[in-house]
Each structure stands twice: as structure tokens, then as C-alpha cells.
């Protein structure tokens, strides 16, 4: 239905004065075609391709001539990106703040990605951090999170959180829908739980202090998924601690459910429902040895039950 027809429909119902109609019509006639987000996506894709390419390139020709030149060039570009981002940085505020240049945020992102490449390379080639491997991820994590708050950049925050999670041994691959890590190892699992609790606490405190409140949802999504994955993995991998993990998972899901209702967040409702359902279903089938009919009945009852629950909850939110 074209805007013109909508105007006609409004006019037919005597909802618009002739003047309003002419004004809106002229705005529509002179409307420009915005390619803002298309161009930003192009820029974004370029940055990701470039850093992926160079990230692989520096290992490929490691012993060739020109290699040091490449490293040097990348270092210069990286420094230039940070310099650009700093030069055009908007004034710091507790709320949202914007770079004074349209490219400030992208320069910062490119700088951070190149920093990661170069830092990894320095450790690989010169073992910069010796055997303290944790530093290789912990350092960028701290740097990125600090930069994210200083420059108000959600992408860099996500990078920092990814690095932090990888520091304890869990890899996040959202495009493949999975967290990878040795969650059969109790130490990794407990670190994941501890880290997510720390992150959530940090997120809540900052939110309470009204510092960058628009970051809260990103932090909580990362921490929440990490915590829920760790607890579900605990349930799967450690039969002797079933009770503990069940209680922890139940409390976490209930907590997210409560938080989602308070904050009107549909994402957290979905998260608690999905992970909770996986946990419950696992326990049911682990302890009950049902025949086929009972299994199908379980699907029917739970499927309908959760559908009803989700639609009634979403109306209340």
C-alpha cells in the first residue's frame, strides 16, 4: 500500500486537513533514499574481511622478506585507528555519547581487531608474555572493556566480553550457535559460573549507578548465556552433582524470569525458558525410563504448557 493510498484512506475518513495532507504528500515526494545502514554494513564487512585476511596473512608468510614490513604497516594502521578514534572522541557521559566523526566508532573497532592480531602475533613469534598464556586474552579483555566504556561502543564491549570468556577457556561462536570449551572439566565450569556471576553483579551495579545503562543488556546476555550453558553442561557431565546443578539452574531461570518481567525484556524470558526446558527434559529422561507413548505425551504436555506460558507472560510484560 503506497503512502499516497494511506493518505487517501485517512482523507476519506476526514482525519486530515487538506493542509496536513499537502505537507505530508510533499515530504513523501521529496523523500530521499537512505543508504545509511547499507553503507555501514559495507564498512563493517570490509573491516571484518580486512582483519581476518591480515590476521591469517601474518602467519602465512612468516619467514619471507617483507613480513616485518607488513607487521609494521599493521601496527601503524592500528595506532592510526586509535589516534583517529581518540581525536574525534565525544565527551564522556554516563549515558550514550557519540564520536564526533561518522568513522570514529569504526576506527576504534578496526584498531581493536588489529590490536588483537598484533598482540597474538607478538606472543606467537616472541613469546611476549612467556608462559603466562592467560594474559594474552586477559589483557585485551580489560583494555576492550575499558575502551568500550570510555568510547561508548557496544561492539568493543562484546569483544571484551568474548575475550574475557575465552580467558577462562570457553569459546563463543554465536553464528554457529554454540559455546565451546572444556565444560567437562570442573575447574573450567566453575570459572565460567564464577565469571558470569561477577559479570552480572558488575552489570547490575553499573546499571544501578546509572553508568552506561544501555550496556546492561549486552553484559547480561553474555553472562546469562554463559551461566546457563555452564549449568546445563554441569547437569549433563556431572551426575554426582545433579541436585546442586538442578537447584542452581532453577534459581537462575527463576531469576531471569523475574528480571525479564521487571525490565520488560523478552530475550531473557526466552533464555530462561529454553535452558530451563533443556535441563528439565534431560533430568526427566535421565531418571524416568519411559516408553514411546509417554515420551510423546511429555512433548504434547510441555509443548502446550510452555506455549501457553510464553503467550500469557508476553502479554503481562
Amino acid at each position: 500500500m503506497s503512502p499516497k493510498r494511506v493518505l487517501q484512506a485517512l482523507a476519506d475518513q476526514h482525519l486530515l486537513s487538506e493542509k496536513q495532507r499537502t505537507v505530508i504528500q510533499s515530504v513523501e515526494d521529496n523523500k530521499l533514499f537512505s543508504v545509511h545502514w547499507e553503507l555501514r554494513s559495507l564498512l563493517y564487512a570490509g573491516i571484518l574481511l580486512f582483519t581476518t585476511g591480515t590476521g591469517l596473512l601474518i602467519y602465512k608468510y612468516i619467514d619471507r622478506i617483507g613480513h616485518n614490513l607488513l607487521i609494521l604497516a599493521l601496527a601503524v594502521v592500528c595506532a592510526a585507528c586509535f589516534a583517529y578514534a581518540i581525536y574525534f572522541k565525544g565527551p564522556f557521559s554516563m549515558g550514550r555519547s557519540h564520536s564526533r566523526s561518522s568513522f570514529g566508532d569504526y576506527a576504534l573497532l578496526l584498531g581493536c581487531l588489529l590490536f588483537l592480531t598484533l598482540e597474538g602475533y607478538l606472543q606467537y613469534q616472541y613469546t611476549l608474555f612467556g608462559t603466562r598464556y592467560g594474559l594474552v586474552t586477559f589483557l585485551p579483555a580489560l583494555l576492550f572493556i575499558a575502551l568500550a566504556y570510555l568510547f561508548d561502543h557496544r561492539g568493543v564491549l562484546a569483544m571484551g566480553l568474548t575475550a574475557l570468556i575465552s580467558w577462562i577457556g570457553v569459546t563463543v561462536r554465536p553464528l554457529e550457535f554454540y559455546f565451546k570449551g572444556n565444560l567437562k572439566d570442573m575447574t573450567v565450569l566453575l570459572s565460567a559460573v564464577a565469571l558470569s556471576l561477577v559479570l552480572m553483579a558488575g552489570g547490575f551495579i553499573l546499571d544501578h549507578q546509572r553508568i552506561k545503562r544501555h550496556f546492561t543488556i549486552t553484559t547480561l546476555t553474555f553472562a546469562g548465556n554463559l551461566l546457563l550453558v555452564a549449568l546445563v553442561a554441569g547437569l549433563f557431565n556431572f551426575k554426582e552433582y545433579h541436585l546442586a546443578f538442578t537447584v542452581a539452574l532453577a534459581i537462575t531461570c527463576a531469576g531471569f524470569d523475574w528480571y525479564a518481567r521487571r525490565e520488560h525484556s523478552f530475550l531473557f524470558i526466552l533464555m530462561s525458558t529454553f535452558y530451563g526446558y533443556i535441563g528439565v527434559t534431560y533430568l526427566v529422561f535421565h531418571y524416568m525410563h519411559w516408553h514411546d507413548e509417554a515420551t510423546y505425551l511429555y512433548w504434547i504436555v510441555t509443548g502446550i504448557g510452555i506455549t501457553v506460558y510464553l503467550s500469557t507472560t508476553s502479554r503481562k510484560i
Partner: protein, 389 residues
């Protein structure tokens, strides 16, 4: 007579457009309230995340019911005919239930109704196909399925069904063309012609008032047909396809007939799409032309590599950055009706989330692979022995 209240669908579009004007400051809140009162929408509003959940759990419930009934009736399935009628019957029941819920609970693309509609149409289609003899070709079954799916699209205007119908059509053409001698040669051209035809039809009907109920379906069809066009004219795709359908496959995909023509099309089609998209200010065309250029470049690199893949990634990434930076600077002032100022039409939230996900993915890529080389060890990286969720 359609599944959803057509007046509400129409009012929904009107309110969407009016909402845009309000955000631009062209209408005040009082006027908006008057308009909302005159154009009521009774559908229950929902949210993307909840819709995903509702869809998934509705599928769980439907599958549970299907298998429960099927198991309890399995003794009767010795006769094939009974099984097919069971599928049709179950599909009709799900469809009736969907209709009841749509009316009673005011669902409109809320996840529950999507799941039920897709399940109903899938089951009825499977059942009806089962009634036909077993020795027909795939395209013949496709021809029986397509009208039923299209009927579903007509009644429900469901987007998943639209995709299914498009997929069925492509399958029919594919399978049918391979049946005769010259079909293999002609297949890419037929697919190109069909996609261009469908695209033009979709553009023609997209804005018709009488067809408003299916507006989203036509827009989806535009995207689907442009994607098919890019694939069916791509040299790499045609050559690989030719290779897959060969009976005795050599080790490598052999050169195809009219190679020059396909190379030309690979490069020319995105250029034409860009030209037309630029002239007509059509977002799908412009975006697909950009993707087409990417495909053309990747195809060229595949057959005529000058540098390594890494070098290509870096060079192309850099060129993309430069092009984007140039265009953003160039469009600071509007030119030819194009601007860099964001507007209401762009899917901002979606893009932001996609960007965030891509960043995370790349970051973990940077943190990942080298670990195994030198500093993998015990305390991080974990060697990939984890579970997938």
C-alpha cells in the same frame, strides 16, 4: 475469505505508515489517537523473541501429538492408504485448530499459528502425494504439491509457506529439465527467465491495494527471485551444477559449454542490478547487486587466483572500507535522491545485532586458532573437546 481478518491487516499497514509520519513529527499524538480509533487492529501484538519460542514449542507439541497418534494407530498402517489418509486427516485437524486459535486468540504471525499452518500444509501435502503411485518422478510429485502449498499461501499469506512454494517450483524445474536431452543446457537460462519473471510479477503486484494481504509475500518473493537469478547466472554455480549431475564424474569439474557467456553474465547481471536499483531506488536490487559483485569476485578468484586467499581477504576488505568511506563522505549531502542520513525504513535493530554477532565471531576467531599452535596447553583453549549446544 482468508485466515486472518483482512481489514485488520490493512489497518496494520496504515498504522505502520502513519507511525512513520508521527516519528518524523508530521502528526501529533492526538491525531494519532483519532487515527488508531478509526483503523483498529485487533491482532495480539507479540515480540520476535517470544515468537521464536512459541514457534519451537508449538512444533514440539504438534510432533508429540502426531507421533502419539501415529504410534497408537500403527497397527493399521500396514495398509499404506490408511497412513496417507491419517496424514491428511491430522493435517486438516491441525489446520482447523489453527483457524480456531487465529479467530479466538487473535494470532497473526505469532509463532503458534505459523507452526500450525506449516505443519497442516506439510501433512496434507505429504498425504496427498502419498496417494499417487510410487514410480513417478520428483517433478511430478512437485506439481501435485505446488498447488496445495500455493493454496496455503493464498489462505494464510504465510512467509515460510512462500519459501516452500518457491523451493518446490525450483525443484520441479530442475528435475523436469534434467529429464530431456537439451534440458541440462537450458536449465540455467530457464531458471534465469523464471526468476526475472517472478521478480517483475512481484514488483507489479507488491503495491496493489487488493493484494495487500500478501504484500510481505511479494517482497519476500523479490528477494528469493533475485537470489535465484544471481545463482543461476553464476559461472561457478553452473559449472559445479553441471559437474554434480554428470553420470560419470571426472576428478575435476569440466569446462562448460558457453563458458564465455556465463562469465559475462556473472559480471554483467550485478552491474545491471545496480544500474536498475540505482535508477528505481529499489533496496533489494541494490543489496543483491552488492552481494552479486562479491560472488563474481569470489568466482573470479576461484578460477584465476593471483594471490593467496588471505591476501584477497585483506585486499578486498581494504577496498570495501575505502569504497564505504568514500560513499559515506560523498553522500553527506544528498545526491541523486540518495542520502547517508538514516531513516525509518532501515532495519536498524536487526543490523546492529547482526553486526554484534559478527564481531563476536571474528573476535573469537582471532583468539582461537593460534592457541593450538604454541600456547594452547592446559588452561585455555581446551582443545575443542567440549559439547555443542
Amino acid at each position: 475469505m482468508k485466515a486472518y481478518n483482512e481489514t485488520w491487516v490493512r489497518n496494520r499497514y496504515i498504522l505502520e505508515q502513519v507511525g512513520r509520519w508521527q516519528r518524523q513529527g508530521l502528526l501529533d499524538e492526538k491525531k494519532m489517537d483519532q487515527i488508531r480509533a478509526k483503523f483498529p487492529v485487533g491482532f495480539r501484538s507479540s515480540n520476535g523473541f517470544i515468537e521464536i519460542g512459541l514457534f519451537v514449542f508449538s512444533v514440539v507439541a504438534i510432533s508429540g501429538s502426531y507421533f502419539l497418534l501415529a504410534t497408537s494407530l500403527s497397527k493399521l498402517f500396514g495398509v499404506d492408504l490408511f497412513y496417507h489418509f491419517f496424514n491428511i486427516g491430522f493435517g486438516i485437524i491441525v489446520g482447523l485448530l489453527a483457524g480456531y486459535l487465529i479467530n479466538r486468540r487473535k494470532y497473526y504471525r505469532s509463532g503458534v499459528d505459523n507452526a500450525m499452518v506449516v505443519a497442516a500444509v506439510a501433512l496434507v501435502t505429504t498425504g496427498i502425494i502419498g496417494l499417487f503411485p510410487n514410480n513417478l518422478s520428483l517433478w511430478q510429485y512437485g506439481c501435485f504439491a505446488l498447488p496445495i502449498i500455493l493454496l496455503g499461501v493464498w489462505y494464510y499469506s504465510d512467509l515460510l509457506l512462500t519459501m516452500a512454494a518457491f523451493g518446490t517450483l525450483v525443484t520441479i524445474l530442475f528435475d523436469w529439465m534434467l529429464d530431456f536431452q537439451s534440458g541440462k543446457q537450458l536449465l540455467p537460462f530457464v531458471l534465469m527467465a523464471v526468476s526475472v519473471g517472478l521478480y517483475i510479477a512481484a514488483r507489479l503486484y507488491e503495491n496493489r491495494d487488493a493484494l495487500l494481504y500478501w504484500r510481505d509475500n511479494f517482497i519476500l518473493l523479490e528477494w528469493l527471485s533475485l537470489s535465484l537469478l544471481l545463482i543461476s547466472c553464476n559461472y561457478f554455480a553452473v559449472r559445479q551444477l553441471n559437474f554434480w549431475i554428470m553420470e560419470n564424474r571426472p576428478t575435476e569439474a569440466p569446462e562448460i559449454a558457453w563458458a564465455g557467456l556465463f562469465w559475462t553474465l556473472t559480471i554483467v547481471v550485478p552491474v545491471v542490478l545496480f544500474y536498475l536499483g540505482h535508477r528505481q531506488k529499489e533496496r533489494p536490487m541494490l543489496i543483491m547487486s552488492a552481494i552479486g559483485w562479491g560472488l563474481a569476485l569470489a568466482t573470479w578468484r576461484y578460477y584465476h587466483p593471483l594471490f593467496s586467499l588471505e591476501a584477497y581477504l585483506a585486499i578486498n576488505g581494504l577496498s570495501l572500507i575505502l569504497v564505504a568511506v568514500f560513499l559515506i563522505r560523498y553522500l553527506r549531502v544528498p545526491r541523486n535522491g540518495f542520502t547517508d542520513q538514516p531513516d525509518e525504513d532501515s532495519p536498524k535493530e536487526f543490523l546492529l545485532n547482526a553486526e554484534l554477532l559478527a564481531t563476536v565471531q571474528t573476535t573469537s576467531g582471532h583468539l582461537g586458532p593460534k592457541d593450538d599452535l604454541r600456547f594452547g596447553g592446559g588452561d585455555f583453549g581446551g582443545g575443542g573437546s567440549g559439547d555443542r549446544y
